[in-house]
């Protein structure tokens, strides 16, 4: 079998057992990338030479009988808003088109410490602002299941790369659903960790208080494997929580008997595509068959989640993105003017329309006279949502909901209607406001397009969410299905 078809854990096992070399694997992925990228466009950059050198190093280690890491020889696609030392990190924006970070993000250091190989940087919505990967300065990524459709976003490149077998693992970031949305649209597993579990050091901020870096893979086991590598305390991130490291693969395979699952009524309500509702409810009954106890749970406050999310995210973004002024790095306008005009002109020319929209709205929401009405109120909504989740978790162990209210849509279908695009995030944002972990996994197909369900767990109970996802995946009729490309 071609190595690119293997999962991450299989690859590292085979390399460790000398059934395969890391070089063979990397070469296999590089040629897969070469043949598919013209169609899929998942990557912004591919690190061709560097990865071969790293692979050879790992092969030497194996040959010498030295210990190799958990991700030995495994190619990892990294979203282009995660800093990689000496490798362009663009946020898919013109303003950072040539930005080369002098340092690695903590997650990248951890992957490399386990002998994983960053194979390339993946496409995304500009500064992670979008749900379709269409706002990228480098052009959109395509959905591997239907090239005329979007892969979801903003981590669309990461999900597409994994789905199209251009990498067995990928890193994304999830501010309001940016890992789960493309995981759902591309038919892969994606996990948004508890806020504070994974270090944000090196993640180029969109909305700091909401976002986390998380893994994407074709299966739950690999997803758990990558989470085990990147998770855990980092003193360079003050919001990182000091807890003992965990191996998330160990809880997989436990059966679901007696597990209480709440099906979130609000998120399967009005406005959700019927095919999605059907798939998620069928998923619930499948879980019941496996011994889980399902019940409906209603959290009415979730109806305020979307506006609260956008206000907080845009407000923080307006401040985070202020640093791109053309003085120290990044795009600078050609014209020689005073600093004030250089700032304005560089930003006007360097940012895309959606980014500008969010900066302007966020600036407005933080301004004197509006702060209390918009920003502060949104924080209060977030607190209410957090509390209502806490209450729900007194009744059930995990919650089940659709990841997206709709199926992957066509490129260009919604891009001119920002509100319609914002509405797509309605099911994913509550989790970010509450800081909870959630896994999106494929729960069915409709007319050849994947549908995702998400399992939401209490803080730091990623193990529970992964356990459900893994159990369902083992029993699913479509297990092992991949897009034909």
């Amino acid at each position: 079998m071609e190595p690119y078809k293997l999962g991450a854990w299989e690859i590292s096992q085979k390399i460790r057992n000398r059934e395969l070399t890391a070089r063979e694997c990397i070469v296999s992925f590089l040629s897969r990338i070469d043949s598919l990228e013209p169609k899929v466009k998942a990557y912004v950059s591919v690190l061709r030479e560097a990865v071969l050198k790293k692979a050879e190093k790992i092969d030497k280690k194996v040959k010498r009988g030295e210990r190799v890491g958990m991700l030995a020889g495994v190619a990892v696609a990294v979203k282009d808003n995660i800093c990689t030392k000496g490798v362009k990190t663009t946020c898919a924006s013109k303003i950072l088109e040539n930005f080369v970070p002098p340092y690695d993000a903590t997650v990248v250091e951890r992957i490399e410490a386990e002998d994983g190989i960053v194979i390339g940087k993946t496409n995304m919505d500009e500064f992670a602002m979008g749900s379709s990967t269409e706002t990228s300065y480098f052009g959109p990524t395509r959905n591997p299941w239907d090239l005329s459709r979007v892969p979801g976003g903003s981590s669309g490149g990461s999900a597409a790369a994994v789905s199209a077998q251009e990498a067995p693992l990928a890193l994304g970031s999830d501010t309001g659903g940016s890992i789960r949305c493309p995981a759902s649209f591309c038919g892969v597993v994606g996990l948004k960790p508890t806020y504070g579990l994974v270090s944000r050091y090196g993640l180029i901020a969109y909305a700091n208080s909401l976002e986390q870096i998380g893994p994407l893979a074709r299966g739950t086991y690999d997803c758990a494997l990558l989470l085990s590598v990147i998770g855990g305390y980092d003193e360079r991130d003050s919001t990182s929580v000091n807890r003992a490291p965990r191996d998330y693969t160990r809880s997989l395979g436990k059966d679901l008997r007696g597990l209480k699952v709440g099906v979130l009524r609000e998120l399967i309500g009005l406005g959700t595509d019927e095919a999605v509702v059907k798939a998620v409810l069928e998923c619930a009954s499948k879980l019941e068959e496996m011994g889980a106890l399902c019940q409906e749970i209603s959290l009415p406050v979730l109806s305020y989640a979307l506006p609260a999310y956008y206000l907080i995210a845009m407000s923080e973004a307006s401040s985070n993105l202020a640093r791109y002024d053309g003085v120290r790095y990044g795009y600078r306008t050609e014209v020689d003017l005073d600093w004030n005009q250089v700032f304005s002109k560089s930003r006007r020319e360097g940012f895309g329309a959606e980014v500008k929209r969010r900066i302007i709205l966020g600036t407005y929401a933080l301004s004197a006279g509006y702060y209390d009405r918009f920003f502060l109120k949104s924080l209060k909504v977030a607190t209410l949502i957090k509390r209502s989740f806490e209450k729900a978790f007194q009744q059930v162990d995990v919650l089940l909901a659709p990841t997206m209210p709709l199926l992957p849509f066509r490129l260009g279908e919604k891009i001119d209607n920002p509100l319609a695009l914002y509405m797509c995030d309605v099911d994913t944002v509550p989790v970010n406001l509450a800081g909870l972990p959630a896994v999106s996994f494929p729960c069915g197909f409709h007319q050849g397009l994947p549908i995702g369900a998400q399992v939401i767990a209490p803080p730091f109970r990623e193990d529970l969410a992964l356990q459900v996802s893994f159990a369902y995946e083992q029993a699913a009729a479509f297990k092992g299905r991949t897009p034909t490309l």
Binding site: T89, F99, P101, N208, D237, A322, R323, F343, S367, L379
Partner: protein, 478 residues
Amino acid sequence: MKIGLEIHCQLTSLKTKLFCGCSSDYRGKTPNTFVCPVCLGLPGSLPVLNEKAVELAVMVALALNCEVAPQTFFVRKNYFYPDMPKNFQISQYDVGGSIAIASGGWVGFLVGKTRKTVRLRRIHLEEDPGKLFYHGTIDTSPYTLVDYNRAGIALLEIVTEPELEAPAEARAFLQKLRSILEHLGVSDGGLEGAMRCDANISIEGGGRVEVKNISSFKDVERALTFEIVRQRDLLKKGVKIQTETRHWDDVRRTTLSLRVKEEEQDYRYFLEPDLTPVRISQEMVELLRSRMPELPDARKERFLKAYGLPEYDAEVLTSDRAMADFFEECAKLYDKPKAVANWLMGDVLQCLHSLEVDIDQAKLAPQYLAEMLKLMDRGDISIKIAKKVLWEVMKHGKSPSTVVREKDWWRITDLQTLEGYIAQVFKEYPKAVEDALVDEKTIHYLIGKTMEATGGKADPELTNALIRKKLSQMKKGS
């Protein structure tokens, strides 16, 4: 008239910056070499609080009689300026439930001989921006250079209520504040730019004018005086004084308008999401309180008791840590503390002013002053010579005995030499001699002339005796 001050003081005793591990010893270093991804605000970098800075801030709060918050937060102050790597400053502000590290408090100080107390509004921690360099002045420079070495240095902002009533009061307050901070050992005000100040001033019938960019305490008095004159002139002409922000130009010593009220900036404060709340436990506060060094007011009390100094002297000396240290060193070597105090507050201070140095950078060491005082006591030099010796010591750093030896300033006690000088004076001023023969009170003229002739080296008592002797001999002789 009401004056309020915002003092920005660097916590210079910290080895590293407020949110990263970069060295804070940036002065005189190659621009943009004391930086890292965090203090340069590179994409993806995150701040981590230097906990030592919180301890120092709490100590300052305790020293200034403030109330320390049990929990404090950082916020972002958003505005665009090229000296700010992130185009926002991590600071503290009372917004959305967030509070600064300390509030309230007061400082007592002496203005001339009057005691005054100014209340404080709050104290907070923030990061210093980088430094801008202009070619010439701000309004004519064709370009601006930025050095981010200073960016991220821990800064303490101390805000007073608008209760100061004259530029001299502002200066006296700042002097006392600096002394407190130096006694705490948190900030060395002698370092360039370590203590900077914004002043707001409103005079009867006018709007509130804020003056920014005052980089030394001496300039505070200058800038305020300038503003008062400017505003009073406008009022006389019937022009209303508008609320505005002005820039102190320390080269031309004037203020320039930056923006008027309509353009007042909205900083869009909000909680810094990359930092977590900082808890300040009562135990920590008590521990720091127990470690507090002696502060100026306590030191003053000790000076009253231990050295028997008058209150005014004790206050003046302790309002400058280096001066107080100097005094104590010197008083160890010379057992008349009042004389030491007199010299320090008089001639020494005068010399320092005209040489434009602080006592801790001066060439005068405590043992030199003590030695000089001993020379005077022994009668080796007169007070007049002593003043000259002081100048020489301050200028060249030589010991008083060396100066006296090299200059041959020893007091003339040799009878023959002195009689020679007196004979000369008698010859030159016959009229004065005649007067003195008639009226003994006029003898002082002759003594003065003799002192003058010897360059002040003559022993006054001996001179007096010899002149009287000579006069009586003349009387007898006639």
